[in-house]
Symmetry: C2
């Protein structure tokens, strides 16, 4: 399959790297809205102007759109689905129905297949929520994120006056995880589930007490959490906080038996050294499924719920049954 | 959907109970090879003779076959797939290709859809192996079982002279689990991965030392494991070892990045108070998917790899996207 990348940031670089790990994938190139001459790819993959993408239509099987959910993807995915089979990782959960409708209309008009909201959450976490709910109807879901870097929260801290750089880690509270795993189906507040660890580089002479107060009282982002703020040097930030780890836990506990006397715990967890590289690896596997489904005639918009898992594997159905079942 | 059960043992009773938890499922009845008058169902569901099942063809949407993999299912599933959409939990991994071929031929001849090897292993564990392999091609798989009761190993102990009753628990070795989760991709021997705990009721005057020796040296079953044997009374067996708990872990660790510098751990685990009730709950969700796929025209034999997860949910695609993604 010929894969192309639209947008060359952290996620785009991850897709470039992941394509090289899959013998059935060939990276056709990277499309950028910047001047292509200013973009150097890690593997030497060719760089094209996003403005010219339609002229490459016949060379690309699946286009992986690596843009942001806030403003990029709501525009990009419907526009590109008119001409390409596409995969995106749109992750604004509340806006998924609207995004789905827009992409579905565009993809159907173009006779293409478009997968939205792929990755790990939404994506693999969603799949595990759905499987566990289908199997244990009398139960309760819990999702924990981290330990991992939240870009949105890091950015929010950087906007505070006197802050030069910041990194925020979301951390699941171990006691909450243990309570959930016990099958007790606890009611957990926002504060009980996660805490927030912030590392901040302050400008020389900045009022650190005021920065800490501004962080801890920030509505939506921090005020509902137990938050720690640690001031570090720019050198420490670079040395200790350059990676983008993430992960989390999807847990459902449920009851079975005539009197609900048996408790079951289904748990899925990810521990990722690099959030963008793992997300990109998932997007490649989902792109494989998109191509197989399109070859069978499917068009329009789909989500991970519509994909038979076997279509994500490079193995034949016979090999899957013999070695994976 | 009208569900019927073929075979009324632990698993059949689990399906009966699980059907009652799913508002879209109606339990049509239980088919037994015994005299129906001798079988009393837990919910009062009607009991029919297995010999008469063809006369109920128009009343049953999906037949859940609850037989053993050694001798029952290789005969039953192909025979019944000629007349019914069926689900089985065939779990002899090495024989799956042969079973698939026989069931596929029968189901296609009858215009039915048949799902084999559903449950948790094979089943949910297989799905997680496949997803993780598709996403992390450069990695390694580990499956651990337990802590849980192995019926096959318990039966093997019961065949030793002087043994009145026995219960065997398979237990994952914590150090092995920790080594795998670290991402070190260790090479683990059979002995390093699991140990076996045996509880035995000996006949009065039996040679306990000889029973213990016979267990610990039994080829295939115990000789490759660290095995403990504890003699208990029949009362203790009944009081402490009547439940059928099980579970396990599917873990894949893999590398990404240009130099494989990032490690990722994907882990799926189950902790089940009742193995048959959880397996049965999974079979009901898979049966729902079989019915939806048959209604779209699919026939022949399939496995869990062929099922789009959304088909297992009682929610509409719109509800799934709005609430589960």
């Amino acid at each position: 399959m010929n894969i192309a990348i639209y947008g060359y940031g952290n996620l785009g670089r991850g897709v470039e790297s992941a394509a090289g790990q899959n013998p059935d994938a060939r990276l056709y190139g990277v499309f950028t809205r910047r001047d292509p001459k200013t973009v150097k790819t890690a593997t030497g993959a060719p760089v094209f102007s996003a403005a010219d993408i339609k002229s490459h239509k016949s060379d690309i099987d699946v286009l992986v759109i690596c843009g942001g959910s806030a403003t990029d993807l709501p525009q990009m995915t419907p526009a590109l689905a008119k001409d390409f089979c596409v995969v995106d990782s749109f992750d604004t959960h509340a806006d998924i129905p609207r995004h789905f409708a827009a992409v579905d209309e565009a993809a159907k008009a173009g006779g293409n297949l478009a997968l939205i909201s792929a990755g790990w959450d939404p994506g693999l976490f969603s799949l595990n929520r759905l499987y566990a709910n289908a199997i244990l109807p009398d139960g309760r879901d819990y999702t924990f994120w981290g330990k991992g870097v939240s870009q949105g929260h890091s950015d929010a801290i950087r906007r505070i006056p006197g802050v030069l750089d910041a990194r925020q880690y979301t951390v699941p509270v171990p006691e909450a995880l243990a309570a959930v795993r016990s099958g007790a189906m606890p009611e957990l507040s926002t504060r009980q589930k996660h805490r927030r660890e912030c590392f901040v580089v302050a400008a020389p002479g900045a009022d650190k007490a005021e920065i800490e107060r501004a962080i801890k009282t920030m509505p939506n982002y921090f005020s509902d959490y137990d938050t720690t703020v640690t001031f570090i040097s720019a050198e420490e930030m670079k040395r200790d906080h350059s990676a983008l780890p993430h992960g989390g836990f999807v847990i459902r506990t449920g009851k079975t038996g005539a009197g609900g006397e048996h408790t079951h715990t289904v748990e899925y967890s990810l521990k990722l050294d690099s959030n963008p590289e793992f997300t990109a690896s998932a997007l490649i596997a989902f792109a494989r499924a998109v191509l197989k489904m399109r070859e069978r005639g499917r068009t329009g918009c789909i989500t991970v719920f519509d994909i038979a898992p076997g279509d994500m594997s490079p193995l034949s159905p016979e090999e899957q049954r013999a070695h994976m079942l």
